[in-house]
Symmetry: C2
């Protein structure tokens, strides 16, 4: 039986958004991949997707791209966070 | 480009749960299939899934099975409803 989370959610994009709402983490693709337990290339692709929908924005910091939520992304992240908690 | 809903959610189970949180509708599989725009057999399978996770319970009413949310199902339905609204 799948877990309840997978019944309703595509968990990687959901977790990436929730992760970015956590101000204590370093918000780079490589860190995010590690924290949500997916490959770097999957994380990069998903992040690009989330940027295309204006839920994330990025800023070049030297060789790295720092990611942060847009206002819309933050709202959705908060609801997803509650939902993930309920589905645990 | 997919819509934002499909980026995060498996929309049929989410919509079925939200639908069942609407007290004005007749909560039978056939009605639900119609309201969330999926086939009867897909609705029945998804409903069975949601019952297996104790999010829905059912009661025989003559030849029909009336469906309602459990307390846990209702909580999740409310959060999903907010999320679907934000993703619109």
């Amino acid at each position: 039986m799948k877990n309840k989370e997978d019944l309703f959610l595509h968990s990687k994009p959901a977790k990436i958004l929730v992760q970015l709402n956590n101000p204590t983490k370093e918000n780079y693709a490589s860190k995010i991949a590690k924290n949500v337990d997916c490959t770097y290339s999957h994380a990069v692709r998903t992040i690009q997707n989330l940027e295309d929908y204006d839920l994330i924005e990025s800023e070049k910091k030297g060789r790295k791209k720092e990611l942060k939520l847009t206002d819309e992304g933050r709202e959705i992240a908060e609801t997803l966070s509650e939902l993930l908690h309920q589905l645990r």
